[in-house]
């Protein structure tokens, strides 16, 4: 599920409320019938910036959540190595973040969000700071990870094509004061690959999102 909307419309704020990072001024967020008022162990968060700790190696950065929740050990380390290998960072376990490119850092951040096997993955414009090609690679990666882990993903972006490519459903936010302008069920088949971006149905869905955002008529 993706939240799509212009900058400053409150997508990130909404994501943070869902994650329990900030409180809602009114209303409540419920997940499986329980109110969310604070962060939960079942959540994994990926931010716009990789937010890696420069003093930790990549492996130790990925293991950081396990340290906090007290689940360190050989199994955790093995899982971290497997995750890093899955995102193509094999061999960089002992490297420091400053030695990695932006895309590699963000991949490590993705591993860190997944290390404690969260049931809900919250992603706040995680690929926003990356170049177009890296971004597309990351989208493929995310689709693969979702397929393997089955984690529910709440994704924030302001890229229409990204929203449609990676989602089952897109919630379109309007400009401030934000209202939900449209709810688009993405009926593109899985597994998806880049070719689908050129299909008629993809363009149609892009068009619909564009209309909801007030960009196209």
């Amino acid at each position: 599920m993706t939240l799509l909307g212009p900058s400053g419309c409150g997508k990130t704020t909404f994501l943070k409320i869902v994650g329990g990072l900030i409180g809602a001024t009114s209303g409540t967020i419920q997940i499986n019938g329980t109110d969310v008022t604070e962060p939960h162990e079942d959540f994994g968060v990926v931010f716009q910036q990789a937010n890696l700790m420069p003093w930790r190696t990549i492996l130790d950065n990925v293991l950081f959540p396990m340290e906090i929740i007290g689940r360190t050990g050989a199994a955790a380390t093995q899982r971290a190595r497997t995750l890093l290998a899955q995102v193509g960072l094999e061999g960089f376990e002992k490297a420091y973040p400053s030695q990695l490119s932006g895309g590699m850092q963000q991949r490590a951040a993705l591993c860190r969000a997944l290390i404690h096997e969260p049931k809900l993955l919250l992603m706040d414009e995680p690929f926003g700071a990356l170049d177009e090609l890296t971004r597309m690679e990351m989208q493929e990666l995310l689709l693969g990870i979702r397929e393997r882990t089955g984690a529910t993903t709440l994704f924030v972006t302001h890229s229409i094509s990204e929203a449609i490519y990676i989602s089952d459903a897109v919630v379109v936010f309007s400009k401030r004061p934000a209202v939900i302008a449209d709810y688009i069920e993405v009926d593109l088949p899985y597994p998806r690959s880049a070719e689908i971006r050129y299909s008629a149905r993809f363009t149609e869905l892009e068009h619909r999102a564009g209309r909801a955002l007030g960009i196209t008529r």
Binding site: F43, N51, P54, W55, E67, I68, S98, Q99
Partner: protein, 253 residues
């Protein structure tokens, strides 16, 4: 082209060599009295002839500086942590810190001497007093400069305050801590020498003063040279500690 490492060593040494040679030529060309300004060779001879005295007198100054600096680190860092994490403590302590800092240390040295005597304690206290402030200010600045993204990440994992401090804030502040320590360690040597000037029975500052009063300028300059070497060695020790404790620094592209 010369290799970079070689260049890094050659140019600073060349700079020093030029000054020494010019100095030597100036002394001989103008027949300057060695009491007014001894030549580099005079200073060298004084250092070699008196090396036992110089080593013996370096030891107390070294101890005073290192212990004063160590105390500044041990006392300064916890205070900085408190000041950075508590608004109330910040409001209470910061004005006092600034006030104590604005008192000239040379001026309170005689008072410290009255309290702690001619022995090592008084010098240690003065070294501590001058080294303390940069330690506190830089560490507190570092604690406040923790990237907000890292704090948010820690909060999203429900990290405790202690975990946030130990695993996020403190390591993030380390570069600042070391910046403060580099300033503090050089100031500690100055503090120790000020203390020795005001009243002491030994130390390089004491030796310098004694040599000066006997118009033994080469020895006074030799003491000065050893003091500089001491300062450089202590500074280098902090730099080495920094490299060991922060292996990630300097790994960038």
């Amino acid at each position: 082209m010369m290799p970079r490492k070689f260049e890094n060593a050659v140019y600073p040494l060349a700079g020093v060599a030029v000054i020494i040679v010019a100095w030597e030529i100036y002394i001989h060309a103008f027949g300057i009295s060695r009491i007014v300004l001894p030549s580099p060779t005079d200073i060298y001879h004084a250092s070699v002839e008196n090396w036992r005295t110089l080593v013996a007198q370096s030891w107390p100054t070294f101890l005073e500086s290192v212990l004063g600096f160590g105390l500044a680190v041990v006392v300064g860092i916890p205070i900085a942590v408190c000041v950075a994490n508590s608004r109330i403590l910040n409001l209470t302590l910061y004005p006092i810190l600034i006030a104590t800092q604005s008192v000239p240390k040379v001026a309170i040295a005689p008072i410290v001497l009255v309290w702690f005597g001619l022995g090592m304690q008084s010098k240690l206290v003065i070294a501590f007093l001058v080294a303390f402030f940069p330690m506190v200010v830089d560490t507190a600045a570092g604690m406040r400069a923790t990237p907000p993204g890292l704090l948010e990440l820690a909060r999203s994992l429900r990290a405790s305050r202690l975990q946030i401090f130990l695993k996020v804030q403190f390591p993030a502040a380390l570069p600042f801590v070391f910046a403060g320590a580099k300033v503090a360690v050089t100031l500690a040597v100055i503090g120790a020498v000020i203390g020795e000037f005001v009243g002491s029975v030994n130390g390089l500052g004491n030796l310098l003063l004694a040599a000066n009063s006997q118009l033994d300028s080469p020895l006074a300059w030799a003491a000065l040279l050893w003091l500089s070497v001491l300062g450089i060695l202590l500074f280098a020790a902090v730099v080495i500690a920094e490299r060991l404790l922060m292996p990630w620094a300097g790994t960038g592209h």
